[in-house]
């Protein structure tokens, strides 16, 4: 089971940004979009630059050492040796997301954190994994060209994003679309007898701990000590998926405000584990979600649910 959440899917989003919608509608016949070898090196370098520009690499102010560690992490992940994310790299990831979100919205933002090289490497690896580059059939040199394209953005000397780069973006965009469509199939029936094996497998895949209640959780360190109590109101972003990976938009939300004590039992427990800035993956057995009650439309009753959750703010009760 490959975790969609253990590492941020930022790069997937970047890839979508990098593939202009118009081009995606008009692929050219040459080069062969399904054949990586038909693209010239500059296509990969330009493609890397387009990714770097989309994610504001040139505005982050990272040192050469930090960029080097980041690139090294991507390269390790490409070769199947991704260093794991830890609390520090999760914080780096969170700050990266905040900064790039602000820049996307035209607000000035600066990357302020100073993290260890290991954190940059793990973060780089997570982006590579999010992009699934290792599954594209690229060889070392093509991946290297792409990295060089990214690196050039850090140096504020990006490669030109030419036609071949855009075509490569299109190919990537198509591939991602195909991957997404593959998980949008109707959820399969869930066999209740498979709950224990599923939770075990999920624990392995997501590096979960299991609470006494049966909640599976992997929660990163937040940026301060502010924890929600049951009576507090929280601002959270939630991305839900079914046991077979199907996205569940009906259970997902961005910046939702809610009192903790009115959420699902598994959420009540998990939110109390978090501090502002924490991100986490939680896996809810049915008893901790809708149990014997009414299950939402399109969600397999009695099935376990997987959530990515970010605690963005806490408003104490009575304030």
């Amino acid at each position: 089971m490959k975790s969609p959440f253990r590492v941020p899917r930022v790069l997937s989003a970047l890839l979508c940004l990098a593939a202009p919608a118009g081009l995606a509608q008009k692929p050219t016949a040459v080069p062969n979009l399904n054949d990586p070898s038909s693209f010239p090196p500059e296509a990969y370098a330009g493609f890397g630059s387009s990714l770097g520009q989309s994610s504001h690499f040139g505005e982050l102010g990272w040192s050469d050492e930090q960029v080097g560690a980041f690139m090294h992490g991507m390269d390790l992940a490409f070769h199947g040796k991704a260093p794991p994310m830890d609390d520090e790299s999760h914080r780096l990831s969170a700050e990266f997301r905040q900064v790039t979100d602000s820049l996307d919205q035209g607000h000035p933002a600066k990357f302020q954190g100073a993290y260890s090289p290991a954190a940059y490497a793990a973060f780089g690896a997570s982006l590579e994994e999010g992009g699934h580059f290792e599954e594209l059939g690229w060889d070392d040199s093509r991946f290297g060209y792409m990295l060089e394209g990214m690196r050039s953005v850090f140096r504020n000397k990006p490669f030109e994003v030419g036609e071949s780069s855009r075509q490569l973006s299109t190919a990537m965009g198509r591939r991602l679309a195909k991957m997404d469509s593959s998980v949008e199939k109707p959820p399969a029936e869930f066999d209740p007898s498979q709950l224990v094996p599923f939770m075990r497998k999920a624990a392995k895949a997501y590096h979960l701990q299991m609470s006494d209640t049966g909640l599976g959780y992997n929660i990163s360190q937040g940026r301060n000590g502010i924890r929600p109590r049951l009576s507090d109101t929280v601002v959270i972003s939630v991305h839900a998926q079914s046991f077979d990976g199907t996205p569940l938009p009906q259970l997902s939300a961005e910046n939702a405000r809610t009192r903790v004590d009115v959420t699902l039992p598994g959420f009540r427990e998990a939110l109390q584990m978090m501090t502002v800035g924490s991100q986490g993956i939680i896996v809810l057995p049915p008893a901790l979600s809708f149990g014997e009650g009414q299950w939402p439309q399109g969600v397999q009753p009695g099935s376990p649910l997987v959530f990515q959750i970010i605690l963005k703010d806490v408003a104490p009760a009575g304030k």
């Binding site: 260093p83 993290y115 260890s116 290991a118 006494d212 992997n218």
Partner: protein
């Protein structure tokens, strides 16, 4: 707040790192008491060369990459400030400087720096939502608490200092730090009532003022009943200062062993700082210890977060391995030191001569005779991180001539991971010692020793190890530090404890006491099912707690025949003020927290731990290395004297013949009659522990048993089981492999100082 918020984890800041610098002359001056007027033997050349090598590596390292060289980093930041003109850069640099000042031991200067930052924010009209108020309130609270800790627990130390729950002599006489902390913490809680770290620290601050629990506002009170012990183990007074072991240092390792064969356990301690001198103390057998560091030839041998002992050359003297470079990633490429015990309380560094000179960051190693040839081998688990690059584990086969051959790759043991502990035992009772590895970055590994990998069955053959952790069910939790094998339920099968090492912040400790959810990683107890698998019994046994364990070891506090354990806790962050915890084994059924009743709750950082009968009265005392990672976090070591519990005991000093001489790997079964019922007590000789090294001498509690029917010893070198009869309780015996009988060893005892 730049890179750091209120709390950091142990891993944070430890990756990417380097060392500092110190000249041997300075080390010598620190290490040797002025009163030591005895004639000092010449230091062996190899020791001097090792000291020089360590010094050279440190000097060539990049101190700017070492987050634990706080004073130097503070100076660098001051240099940056002197040149900076951009207001944003100035603000960010001041934030970093404030933290470095705190870590380097200048909390009041850090507070002044914070005031400058606050004024700057006012001048720059930084909007409230960007001022990181909770972080800075937390920062102020830590600074004030540190003022109190430094002025009281460190500078005016007594045996009750920083002992949780703080009371009596632990109450601060100089209260300005804690008073100021209370004000800030109350403000923090008033604004953010869900902040459990502030609530935890507030209760501790009131303890230091002598106003706990009555002075704590009701809504923030952590009731004393939360910390009450479930069993009264009796108070174990800290007598370190009275016996000459008033050691004030940073994190380090520990070996509790009889180095000179006089029957009394001596003590060697390391200090992980790059200029931290290795120190050894001789037990004088009269209630005092004398430092012998210089005369033992150890001057200039520095650093080392952990140590383990063995008799690598089968000469009857216990040697020591000092492990260096932990947490320092690419800058931690130090050698370890193998110190040969010459039997006269001197040690010779034989690392190079033994073929062991290599350069990898590590604190984890274990002595085990994997090929059962009677010569103890060494497995070293190194720390591979993105910053360090691959640092493969090493297997050193003992050639039997004072040298070793590295052979990890041919056995598939050149593993890469962020390994923090390795221990060995024969978990499947097939006569071959296996390995268990704990790491910060993923699944634990249980490496089953499958014997020779091919037709060649000689000791030098290629050997086969298979990772069976998944099938055995022992891969969790994801982020772990120390671990150990022990037979906690006396069923003859080795069980495993592995301790989680990740927290959200110190509020997780409060949450654990309060029964609230928390994300920190708990300890796990895996019970051996005897069929190659284990069952996770953490919850029902009471082990599934938020301990944040670094050092740990096990022994038998009350000689009831059931193994208890003690954990040293914390992480480098100065706000992570966590009590060390002691757990008493209730008849192999569960573990009961006896921290409070025994007086074991040291709040300063807990590292290496060992159990051993220091005064030979038959009861095990406990030694604890206390002290943290950052430059200013020095603390006083502790020696907890066992008050005795009226139970019986037996001591066995095993001597291997076909088995390695220290008998590491030997299994002991004591058949004792207790209340007319026979019980079997199981023990295994191991190389001390995974962080802290207990003596290899077997100190076995017998409960109320009035007689010992027989003792069986399985010797892995020969595969034979030796049966001894006629042994009496409350006596010590020397047992030689294959001998017809055990020889009684007269052990002198001494009373503890009043």
């Amino acid at each position: 707040m730049g890179r750091r918020a209120f709390v950091r984890t142990g891993m944070q800041g430890a990756l990417g790192i380097a060392a500092g610098f110190c000249l041997p002359g300075r080390l010598l001056a620190q290490a040797v008491p002025a009163a030591a007027a005895q004639k000092v033997p010449a230091q062996p050349d190899s020791n001097r060369r090792m000291a020089e090598l360590l010094s050279k590596i440190t000097a060539e390292g990049d101190p700017l990459k070492n987050p634990f060289r706080n004073a130097e980093q503070a100076q660098l930041l001051r240099d940056v400030l002197a040149k900076a003109t951009d207001r944003t850069v100035i603000l960010q640099t001041r934030m970093r400087l404030a933290w470095q000042l705190l870590d380097s031991g200048e909390p009041e200067a850090a507070l002044k720096e914070y005031e400058v930052i606050r004024r700057r924010m006012d001048e720059d009209k930084v909007p409230p939502e960007q001022r990181m108020e909770p972080e800075w309130l937390g920062f102020q609270a830590i600074c004030h608490l540190r003022v109190g800790e430094i002025e009281n627990c460190v500078a005016n130390h007594n045996s009750a200092s920083c002992m949780f729950p703080i009371r009596g002599g632990g109450v601060h006489t100089l209260q300005r730090g804690s008073r100021a902390a209370v004000v800030v913490l109350l403000e923090l809680l008033g604004k953010y009532p869900g902040d459990l770290r502030a609530r935890w620290l507030l209760n501790i601050a009131y303890m230091t003022l002598g106003e706990y629990p009555s002075g704590v506002p009701e809504q923030w009170l952590l009731e004393p009943s939360l910390f009450a012990s479930g069993h009264d183990i009796g108070a174990f007074p800290d007598v370190a200062a009275q016996v000459g072991l008033d050691i004030n240092g940073l994190a380090g390792g520990l070996v509790l062993e009889d180095f000179d064969g006089d029957g009394f356990l001596d003590i060697m301690v390391s200090n992980w700082a790059v200029d931290g001198q290795l120190r050894v103390f001789r037990n004088n057998g009269d209630g005092t210890f004398t430092e012998r560091t210089e005369s033992a030839g150890l001057s200039g041998l520095t650093g080392g977060l952990n140590m383990i002992q063995c008799d690598y050359n089968n000469d009857g003297h216990m040697d020591v391995l000092v492990l260096r470079g932990a947490w320092l990633a690419g800058e931690g490429k130090y050698p370890f030191s193998l110190l040969r015990n010459n039997g006269d309380f001197t040690f010779t560094d034989v690392t190079e001569a033994a073929g062991l000179l290599r350069f990898h960051p590590t604190q984890a190693a274990v002595w085990f005779d994997y090929n059962n040839d009677g010569w103890i081998d060494l497995f070293v688990a190194n720390e591979s991180t993105a910053a360090s690059g691959p640092q493969g584990c090493e297997l050193f086969r003992n050639n039997g001539d004072g040298t070793f051959t590295e052979c990890a790759a041919e056995s598939g043991l050149n593993l890469n991971g962020f390994f923090k502990a390795v221990v060995s035992a024969d978990y499947n009772n097939d006569g071959r010692p296996d390995l268990f590895l704990s790491r910060l970055d993923g699944d634990k590994m249980l490496l089953r020793n499958d014997g020779p990998d091919g037709p060649d069955a000689s000791p030098r053959a290629k050997w086969k190890f298979t990772n069976v952790a998944d099938d055995a069910g022992v891969t969790e939790p994801p982020t772990t530090f120390t671990c150990w094998f022990f037979d906690y339920n006396n069923d003859g099968w080795e069980d495993i404890i592995v301790c989680g090492y990740a927290i959200q912040d110190v509020g997780d400790i409060a949450a654990d006491y309060l029964g609230l959810p928390y994300s920190g990683q708990r300890a796990k107890l895996y019970r051996n099912n005897g069929d190659g698998t284990f069952t996770d019994v953490s919850h029902e046994s009471g082990v599934a707690k938020m301990l944040l364990t670094m050092g740990a070891n096990f022994g038998d506090l009350d000689n009831d025949g059931w193994l208890d354990f003690y954990v040293g806790t914390g992480n480098p962050d100065l706000s992570v003020i966590v009590p060390n915890r002691m757990f008493w084994n209730d008849g192999g059924r569960r573990f009961v927290d006896v921290t409070t009743s025994g007086g074991f709750g040291q709040l300063q950082k807990g590292h290496a731990i060992a159990f051993g009968d220091i005064n030979n009265d038959g009861t095990q005392d406990v030694y604890s290395v206390v002290g943290g990672a950052v430059e200013s976090d020095k603390a006083h070591h502790q020696l907890f004297r066992n008050p005795g519990h009226g139970n019986n005991w037996i001591k066995l000093k095993l001597e291997g013949v076909r088995t390695n001489r220290a008998a590491i790997g030997a299994r002991v079964r004591v058949y004792a009659l207790e209340g007319g019922v026979e019980r079997v007590i199981h023990r295994t000789v191991c190389s001390g522990g995974s962080f802290g090294a207990t003596t290899v001498r077997q100190e076995i509690g017998l409960g109320k048993a009035s007689s010992v029917r027989k003792v069986e010893i399985f010797w892995p070198g020969s595969g034979a089981t030796q049966v001894l009869t006629g042994l009496e309780p409350n006596a010590a015996y020397h047992v030689r492999e294959g001998g017809a009988s055990a020889a009684r060893m007269p052990l002198r005892t001494f009373p503890w100082p009043a």
